[in-house]
């Protein structure tokens, strides 16, 4: 009698201690009617499809262009130590040179999500990742407005850099479609022109530090 009570007490204590707030396993399921997909869902492992004799390719057929997408960029990435294509990209024209009001809003949204984090909401190259060198990013991002080099850079060359990456900047081809990339570049170019027009005024006013959304 005494032994059993001691054992019971001990198990209770162990059970209590073993209980953690962190739930590392998903809940159990009872009678999972139609809960699990028979079809292959997104991000499920599809590496064994060939064994089952199923022909599956997760890439679009080469040469196809999705609906409403821009024509492919015909300039390839430079080989290391080479800059022929980078220079050649200067001649490519932006098909979206002038943006409508809705396009501009959309381009601004895309800029703030994808570019503003480094290049800053005001395009001065001081986004929340750099913060005058106090952020985690060690290199100073390009100042897209106010730097003669980038003001003079043609849209085609910007598109090359956004598509293939340049120096420490990575490629954004997987995040933005070609159309979106062109529109964001048109937005940057428009901001550069605005900056030049407003330069004498902006010099006296304090620079607005808009918080990143």
């Amino acid at each position: 009698m005494k032994n059993t009570s001691i054992i019971a007490c001990l198990t209770a204590v162990v059970a209590l201690v073993a209980c953690s707030d962190v739930k590392r396993t998903p809940g159990s399921i009872y009678m999972p009617d139609m809960a699990y997909s028979r079809a292959y869902e997104s991000y499920s492992d599809n590496s064994n499809l060939a064994e089952k004799g199923i022909n599956y390719n997760n890439r679009p057929v080469e040469g196809t262009i999705s609906r409403e997408e821009e024509m492919p960029f015909h300039i390839a990435k430079d080989l290391p130590g080479d800059s022929i294509n980078y220079v050649a990209s200067k001649l490519v024209k932006n098909p979206y040179d002038t943006l409508s009001a809705t396009d501009k809003d959309e381009a601004e949204r895309l800029y703030l999500i994808n570019c503003g984090i480094c290049h800053g909401a005001n395009l001065k190259g001081n986004g929340p990742l750099y913060k005058d060198g106090n952020g985690p990013y060690p290199a100073k991002p390009a100042s897209l407005v106010g730097d003669a080099k980038y003001e003079a850079m043609p849209a085609g060359q910007m598109f090359y850099s956004v598509t293939y990456g340049k120096n420490l900047m990575g490629s954004y081809a997987s995040q933005l479609s070609r159309k979106q990339r062109w529109k964001v570049i048109a937005y940057v170019k428009a901001k550069q022109q605005e900056g030049n027009k407003a330069a004498p005024v902006a010099a006296t006013a304090t620079p607005a530090t808009a918080p990143a959304k």
């Binding site: 707030d21 962190v22 739930k23 590392r24 396993t25 998903p26 809940g27 159990s28 399921i29 009872y30 999972p32 009617d33 139609m34 809960a35 699990y36 997909s37 028979r38 997104s42 991000y43 290391p80 130590g81 080479d82 800059s83 703030l112 999500i113 994808n114 984090i117 929340p128 990742l129 060198g133 952020g135 985690p136 990013y137 060690p138 290199a139 100073k140 991002p141 390009a142 120096n167 420490l168 900047m169 990575g170 490629s171 954004y172 997987s174 995040q175 933005l176 918080p211 990143a212 959304k213």
Partner: protein, 415 residues
């Protein structure tokens, strides 16, 4: 008199010279910082290899200062002179050409070099990181002991009361009833039965409803990725990584190249210490190295994205197959914030499931949430509602809920 005058003059000139030297050095350091930031900082850091080499000790590495000046002004032209050190450097950095700076004067380059010397090495001059967090007091134990003490006191009082009654009964000469032991006392039985029914019923119902739901599920991921650091502290927009959330059914898990957009350069964690769920400190830098393993990236070498292997994150939010859910419908058309369903994700170290994702939870939100009708082309088709809103038939403060546009119809989500 003349002697004292000459002494005074000499000392004055000496002071002036000294002063001007000090001033020029100060000005140099100031200019150097500005010049470095404007011209060099996008490719070079002082103590870290970026696109170009770390610049600390650059003057010692170059055999000759004139060569260094010539290199900075026009590296391509200097390479053609066949300088061995310059060519070795060019090859070491994968033939990445350094920009030419023909407009920099010798003094300006020297100012930059002077500034580079003044930058202290990281970790040399950092104070103690923040005082220890105040110890949170947990009162549960105290309350438990208090309850126990009170229960004992109540028991003693009851016993005393029973004994006193017995004594008084003996004095008055009333017949003393033998007390019934508790294991034969029917009141006890009834009480215990009711208690068991309540507790058991509660637990059974709760357990049964919890089948197939995973609220608070917080699995360990292959890499300790902190949403708090990325989305909270560093203010990276959710859609930077989950770019598909406004475009399709899936929110999309970012591929390794999206991580590498920033982590090609950010190879160490320097922020506030991260604590995991067990309260241990997580080594952020080691977690970044784990990412490099998946990416097949070796520091200092150019990254070949084709060598990357996917990170197998553990899926947390999962709806049964008989429910259709589309992210873009909620985020783009409905303008619902991520936090509504995923909780304060920007404050989570390890992500846990915030909502139970039950049908009641979905339907409740559809009943209460107002649809953004104004300036939203997606709902322009509901002409009658628009008219009623204009004429005041429908209270514009109440607005149109998701339920009113069919948000609680079965076939909206089950088909």
């Amino acid at each position: 008199m003349t002697l004292s005058r000459t002494i005074a003059q000499k000392s004055l000139t000496a002071i002036l010279i000294l002063f001007s030297v000090c001033m020029s050095v100060a000005a140099n350091a100031q200019d150097g910082k500005a010049l470095f930031s404007a011209n060099c900082a996008s490719c070079h850091a002082v103590h870290k290899k970026l696109t170009g080499p770390a610049l600390t000790g650059v003057e010692d590495r170059w055999p000759n200062k004139d060569n260094l000046h010539a290199w900075i002004r026009n590296s391509a032209a200097f390479l053609k002179t066949g300088d061995a050190y310059a060519n070795a450097l060019y090859n070491e950095y994968n033939k990445t050409a350094m920009n030419a700076f023909p407009n920099l004067k010798n003094e300006e380059i020297d100012a930059i070099l002077a500034y580079i010397k003044t930058v202290p090495a990281p970790g040399a001059a950092t104070g103690g990181a923040g005082a220890a967090a105040p110890v949170e007091s947990d009162n549960t134990l105290l309350y438990g002991i208090l309850t126990l003490v009170l229960a004992v006191v109540a028991l003693i009082l009851m016993k005393v009361n029973a004994n006193l009654k017995k004594l008084s009964d003996e004095v008055t000469g009333e017949p003393v009833l033998r007390p019934i032991p508790f294991y034969r006392n029917k009141t006890y039985f009834a009480l215990i039965a009711v208690l068991l029914f309540l507790v058991g019923g509660y637990l059974t119902t709760k357990g049964a409803m919890g089948f197939g739901r995973s609220k608070n599920y917080q699995p360990e991921q292959p890499i300790y990725y902190s949403h708090k650091v990325h989305a909270g502290v560093n203010q990276i927009n959710c859609q930077y990584c989950h770019m598909g959330v406004a475009q399709g059914k899936q929110a999309t898990i970012p591929s390794v190249n999206v991580c590498m957009n920033c982590h090609m350069a950010i190879n160490e964690y320097k922020g506030e210490p991260i604590k995991n769920e067990a309260g241990e400190t997580v080594d952020g830098t080691a977690e970044i190295k784990k990412l490099y393993k998946y990416a097949g990236f070796e520091e200092g070498k150019p990254w070949d994205a084709s060598k990357a292997t996917p990170i197998e994150w553990v899926r947390i939010h999962n709806l049964p197959d008989h429910v259709y859910f589309n992210h873009s419908q909620h985020v783009k058309a409905g303008q619902v914030a991520c936090q509504t369903c995923h909780g304060e994700i920007q404050k989570m170290g390890e992500v846990k499931q915030f909502a139970d994702l039950s049908m009641g939870w979905c339907v409740n939100c559809h009943r209460e949430t107002k649809v953004q009708f104004k300036d939203n082309g997606f709902y322009s088709i509901y002409e009658k509602y628009h008219e009623d809103l204009k004429s005041g038939k429908i209270d514009s403060a109440k607005g149109i809920t998701v339920e009113k546009i069919g948000g609680t119809e079965c076939q909206k989500c089950h088909y």
